[in-house]
Symmetry: C2
Subunit: 240 residues, 2 copies
């Protein structure tokens, strides 16, 4: 968990250095972050805290400094109910992909906290922002979506440090969601997030804890120069 | 910059609380991270440090705990030269999108550090990992790519805390890159990154500093419940 502490390294340039405790804060946020579906408490997120999370998201890198994101704060119960209905239907469809024990396990998993979290937040991508020729987006058009994801991760990590759980609900139909939130043409929902203070952060990811899928060994995901060529000193890399 | 310190908040659950300095480390990484193209120094990244960065990336959230990422560590000069040639050609094409002063400014920007950074790292997405029915990836197929981006941001932030600069080179042709790196069918490159210790982290993003594009006001990117509906207390949200 805290393997980053095992081999302390002096940062070469003192003026940019992080203290051990500052580093620990970043690594803790990364290792203790969870995709939260349950454990939400109803108390609201104070505006100054939410403002910090959104400012952190807004300071993510983006292709050509495009900043293609918008943030829709959703507290209207009727809207949330509408989104929840989309989830319920899509999730029922998804459950039919599995059979037997796997289906039973799937159906027993809680996969969203749309109604009980204190805030829903949709992070969108305006695919036309910055005009037709965004610097660096000439070759791979989806880099705008990638930028939005980087912003989501900034928000997710700062939320963890503030004691706030975040769950990404991916089992939604994007077009229906766009209709519900009245998104204009060219703007698409990338992440639908549930936010709120939590009773606890689980020690392990829920899907790992429940035996749905395990963590892959990092060493098997490393390659030297070309796919399939082993990293010579691969034993130096560990997952945990 | 450090606006998160303005309104300290007691985290409700003491056992999950972050100290002020731990929080500062996370927010510093977010605000002081840069997309580095120049400023690279040649000294190599020690393996234990690189191992921390990759383990942090590996602990990103992923749809259905899919962990679709692989990491290709690229130090072969011939391979880098081949990738650089792809960049040069694509960048020349991109430059033709602009005219006059804008074109001159574009051509004066340094947009990659492929040859001079101490390590290149390609983060890929295996779109078939976890089989045909990945939990949560039923509706939006690109959620696997999104997961890879979350991993990239973990790496980017931890690199900053370790004094290491990271630059994402987006001006590359994905198919050519896949050929150079011998990626198998179903695996695509998502991020091509240049990593290395740096002389300094610039106080502002390069594109902002050089007048290519400014930071958008966060307040204009916020909506309440539906697109275009103002957040009532929007003055509580600031970008910086």
């Amino acid at each position: 968990m805290a393997r980053w502490t095992e081999t302390p390294v002096t940062v070469a340039c003192a003026s940019t250095g992080f203290s051990a405790e500052e580093k620990r804060g970043l690594y803790r946020a990364i290792y203790e972050r969870r995709d939260v579906r349950a454990q939400f408490r109803p108390d609201p997120i104070p505006r100054p805290v939410l403002a910090r999370l959104l400012a952190a998201a807004h300071h993510a890198p983006s292709v050509g400094f495009m900043q293609p994101w918008d943030f829709i704060l959703i507290d209207d119960p009727a809207l949330r109910e509408a989104v929840h209905q989309v989830f319920v239907r899509e999730n029922e469809l998804a459950a039919t992909n599995y059979q037997g024990e796997r289906e039973a396990l799937y159906r027993s998993l809680k996969l969203e906290g749309i109604l009980e979290s204190s805030l829903n937040l949709c992070v969108t991508c305006d695919r036309r922002r910055g005009g037709p020729h965004v610097l660096g987006r000439n070759t791979v058009l989806d880099t705008d979506l990638f930028s939005v994801c980087l912003a989501v991760q900034n928000l997710w990590l700062t939320a963890r440090a503030e004691g706030i759980g975040v769950g990404w609900v991916s089992i939604l139909d994007s077009e229906e969601l766009a209709d519900i939130l009245a998104l204009p043409e060219g703007v698409i929902p990338v992440a639908y997030l549930c936010l709120g203070y939590v009773n606890e952060f689980l020690p392990l990811p829920e899907l790992q804890r429940r035996g749905w899928r395990g963590r892959l060994p990092l060493q098997k995901l490393l390659h030297q120069n070309r796919w399939g060529t082993a990293v010579p000193d691969v034993e130096q890399f560990e997952s945990d």
